[in-house]
């Protein structure tokens, strides 16, 4: 849940296969943060489509001018916390895993920059005859492990079964719960005790069938998660697998020294004809960790020696260099900027703030312009009006509280609402991460809320225990920051984990403790809609309902600004993960 950067936004989200949906919104501002949102917004489109069997045939769409060979270096602050597919959840780990882990489905980058869900190991994006309760996938011919043995449906079944094992702690849990029950660990202990999971059937070596407890029409998106990538039984070393997974993709791991480096070489048994997603231009990848963003920015700007063929998945342009990077024409050709899937919220604690008018007053009073400016201005992100990100299927822009018109806050309107609620002088206990930036942000919020007639009580929290503290259901705060990004670009993972009342628990992601029966019901209905367009509309309606009830304060849709070396071509921004995308990179 991090990433950032600038400019304007507007998104068009579509689904194809005969279907198209679009919406757009815009925001944007000068870095001075002094002018209100204007009409000069540029429109950048992100699009997700669902492809056909024909789209799922390899090879991937070639990058114009690309050539094979050479070594590409990747520098970043951190090593990948997990490489075992079952443990992978973070975008950073997923982006790297594209090079050596394959799933049943995946996202194919189109020539126009949009993405399409296609079959990766599977011949297509799966079929369901009962609205999403049973899903069938057929594996392609010629898909192999790095040792040349074929990838079979038994491998897919085993890979999902092992996600139930007790040592798998940090991956997604969707399929496990859908196949068994909410407490999936009690239902099935994993494959290591010799038991198989009957809910996954493999009638032959090419076919795998998932029988869920309920309908899940977007399960074809779920199996695109790295967390459901394949792991061969014969090579499964349980916990140790996390250090050196066995490859099903175009590269295999030559050496991995934790926190220091990761080296990849070609997997001779990967066949590009089976892979519609991955180009594999470089011969080798050398990844180095421990490089702070200030260092990487300076190295990219200097562009010396081996840094010419270097990029970074995750390191952004350091805030002190943003102006230089944005105003230097020479850097422009190797600057990447884009909208990430992450939305920043200021969660209102609905256990404490029960009066909707008080919550609306908070929404009206909140000084978005000042807080965003303190965190990097337009480079940090675009003002958010919705709970759903514009990168999510079905997004419909609304500005119910005039955030785009008055990003600096509207204290007069807030005062009026507070008076109507009979709550003038209402105390707001604001909990914040006690860092230098957040101290300044807190001061800006204090000024904004006090102008509107709130009594502001700041509560600094230790950065390391921040999420633990706000994650308690009986926490004693009214307002606190948090971010969220969808696991796949439909409304389900964008909204359900954060706003479903039945997900309230200590440490769970419903930080606002929103528990609206009508919204819970709308969510239950939305997940059952098989048609992606109709489902997108249903989630957009839920988004609107959340806005109407003023359950929290959406703040910004995060942006990303990054650089790479001049000796590389085909470096693109991956709006699905909000990082630099490796699959079209080549050495010039």
């Amino acid at each position: 849940m991090n990433v950032r950067k600038s400019r304007q936004l507007a998104a068009a989200v579509m689904v194809v296969g005969a279907l198209t949906v679009t919406t757009a919104c815009s925001s944007g501002n000068s870095n001075s943060g002094t002018k209100p949102e204007a009409s000069k917004s540029k429109v950048a489109a992100t699009a997700i489509t669902v492809g056909t069997a024909a789209d799922s045939v390899g090879p991937a769409i070639a990058e114009p001018g690309a050539k094979k060979g050479g070594t590409v270096t990747m520098i970043d602050r951190d090593d990948f916390s997990h490489l075992d597919p079952a443990q992978v959840y973070l975008n950073y780990n997923s982006e790297a895993s594209l090079l050596f882990t394959r799933q049943l489905t995946g996202y194919k980058l189109q020539a126009d920059g949009t993405s399409k869900l296609v079959g990766d190991l599977a011949t297509d994006t799966g079929t369901t005859a009962d609205g999403g309760k049973t899903w069938k996938f057929t594996l392609k011919d010629g898909v192999k492990w790095q040792d040349g043995t074929p990838i079979t449906s038994a491998d897919v079944k085993y890979s999902v079964e092992r996600t139930f094992a007790p040592f798998i702690k940090s991956g997604p849990t969707y399929l496990q719960q859908w196949l068994t029950a909410t407490d999936y660990r009690a239902a099935y202990p994993g494959p290591y005790e010799g038991k198989e999971l009957d809910a996954i059937q493999t009638p032959d070596a090419k076919t795998v069938v998932f029988a869920f407890q309920d309908v899940h029409p977007d399960a074809n998106f779920t199996v695109a998660m790295t967390g459901y990538g394949v792991v061969p039984k014969a090579q499964d070393t349980k916990e140790a697998y996390d250090k050196k997974p066995f490859s099903s993709g175009p590269y295999q791991i030559a050496e991995h020294v934790t926190d220091k480096s990761l080296d990849l070489v070609r997997n001779p048994n990967w066949d590009p004809a089976t892979d519609p997603i991955r180009n594999a231009y470089p011969d080798k990848w050398h990844m180095e960790f421990g490089v702070q963003s200030q260092q990487s920015t300076e190295r990219f700007i200097a562009d010396n020696g081996a840094d010419k063929t270097t990029f970074s998945f995750h390191n952004q342009v350091h805030p002190t260099f943003i102006d230089k990077v944005k105003n230097d024409a020479a850097l422009k050709p190797r600057t990447l900027e884009g909208l990430t899937p992450y939305v920043d919220y200021y969660y209102m604690n609905n256990t404490r703030l029960k009066d909707q008018k008080v919550r609306e007053a908070l929404l009206r009073a909140f000084p978005h312009q000042q807080t965003r400016q303190l965190q990097g201005g337009t480079s940090y992100g675009d003002y958010a009006t919705n709970y759903m990100s514009p990168t999510v299927l079905g997004y419909e822009a609304n500005d119910m509280y005039d955030i785009l018109k008055k990003p600096e806050g509207d204290p007069e309107a807030a005062k009026k609402l507070l008076a109507e609620a009979g709550a003038t002088g209402q105390t707001i206990v604001y909990a914040y991460n006690n860092t230098p930036t957040q101290q300044k942000v807190t001061e800006a919020i204090r000024v904004g809320l006090e102008k509107a007639g709130f009594k502001f009580v700041p509560k600094p929290l230790d950065a390391k225990t921040y999420y633990d503290a706000i994650g308690l259901t009986n926490n004693e705060y009214d307002l606190y920051w948090g971010g969220w990004g969808a696991d796949w670009p439909t409304g389900y993972t964008s909204l359900q984990p954060v706003w479903d009342g039945r997900a309230i628990a200590d440490g769970a992601s419903n930080y606002a403790h929103t528990n609206d029966e009508a919204i819970n019901k709308m969510m239950d209905d939305a997940v059952k809609i098989a048609d992606p367009i109709a489902q997108g509309k249903a989630w957009a309606a839920i988004d609107k309902e959340l806005q109407k009830k003023a359950y929290s304060i959406p703040d910004v849709y995060q942006r990303s600004l990054s650089l790479y070396g001049s000796g590389l071509g085909g470096v693109k921004f991956d709006s699905l993960f909000g990082l630099q995308y490796p699959l079209n990179i080549y050495v010039k």
Partner: protein, 325 residues
């Protein structure tokens, strides 16, 4: 001498035991939950409990300490395999045996320390002696002023500055990196040159000032005056008497400094992206990797204690007035 070493070593063991207990208690008593960090994006209470159990965090701190402490001598079994003695525990964050990580990181810190120590001892002590010899003259004033400026520099200023000047803007020197000397001695040297320059710049200044003041003090001692009065040459007085007397202070400070540097130059390693013990410590702190933090702290403490014993023993060799009783 032998009796002294045995006695001091036993004392050091007690000190290290106390340090390890305090460190362990301190880190494990702070209000944060390492299990939460391993729990993923959607962290259910059941999952959290499972992780706490697998990390042994559901045991009392005393039992956790006992398992950890006994593991140093007997080794320890984890679900990922056996950890041979001396086992400093297992990092659940990095999924690595801590002893293996420490052994992997130590050569980087050792190389960084070695190069900078050579430079700052040669230049620092040399310049300090020169300044003392030329006391009050222009050479002394220049050396003293330069050392004052250099010692007021901080690594986090000098480091990025040196990187900009020598690497980014001019491409004169190589981007700092550690390549084992056994693999490529030239790459080892060139990869560490910028960190050596920066680290030794600051330490050279400190040693210049310290050496100068010790020498000046020694030169005004009665025994030096007596030696001069007896007709010894200035060179003999300076090197055989005054310098030997000044060595006591320098060796004492150097012993502690060396132990500290070998324990990890946190800022230097972080600024230059070198994967030594210092960078490991700071990363472990930010990752809430308490087992790793305890391991690094104990290694750093051990190095300081050991070098203190060496310094104490070295006194007897340097200064005949001191007897190890």
């Amino acid at each position: 001498m032998l009796r002294f070493l045995v006695r001091r070593s036993l004392g050091a063991l007690v000190i290290l035991l106390v340090i390890s207990m305090v460190t362990f208690e301190l880190f494990f008593a702070i209000p944060q939950d390492p299990a939460r960090l391993s729990c993923g994006k959607v962290c259910t209470p059941e999952n959290l409990a499972l992780i706490r159990h697998s990390m042994g965090l559901d045991e009392s701190t005393i039992m956790q300490f006992w398992h950890w402490f006994s593991g140093i001598f007997t080794g320890r079994d984890y679900s990922v395999g056996h950890c041979d003695a001396p086992c400093f525990g297992y990092s659940f964050v990095k999924q690595e045996m801590i002893t293996d990580v420490l052994l992997d990181r130590f050569p980087t810190t050792l190389s960084l320390t070695f190069g900078s120590v050579v430079v700052f001892l040669l230049f620092g002590v040399g310049t300090g002696m020169l300044a003392a010899h030329k006391q009050g003259k222009p050479a002394d004033k220049i050396a003293s002023s330069a050392s004052l400026i250099a010692s007021s520099m901080q690594i986090y200023v000098a480091g990025p500055l040196a990187l900009y000047v020598f690497v980014y803007a001019t491409d004169w020197l190589k981007q700092p990196a550690y390549i084992p000397i056994t693999e490529d001695p030239i790459a080892w040297f060139s990869g560490l040159l910028v960190p050596w320059i920066v680290l030794s710049l600051i330490w050279t200044a400190n040693y210049t000032r310290m050496t100068r003041s010790s020498m000046v003090e020694q030169l005004s001692e009665d025994y030096v005056r007596t030696a001069r009065a007896k007709g010894m040459t200035g060179r003999s007085v300076f090197l055989r008497f005054a310098w030997r007397g000044a060595m006591g202070t320098i060796v004492t400070v150097f012993g502690i400094d060396l132990g500290t540097l070998l324990g990890g130059a946190i800022i230097t390693e972080t600024v230059f992206g070198l994967h030594g013990l210092g960078e490991l410590a700071i990363r472990a702190y930010f990752d809430s990797d308490l087992s790793m933090l305890v391991g690094v702290t104990l290694v750093a403490a051990t190095l300081i204690v050991v070098f203190n014993i060496i310094v104490d023993a070295a006194y007897a060799l340097i200064d005949p007035r001191i007897r190890l009783a």
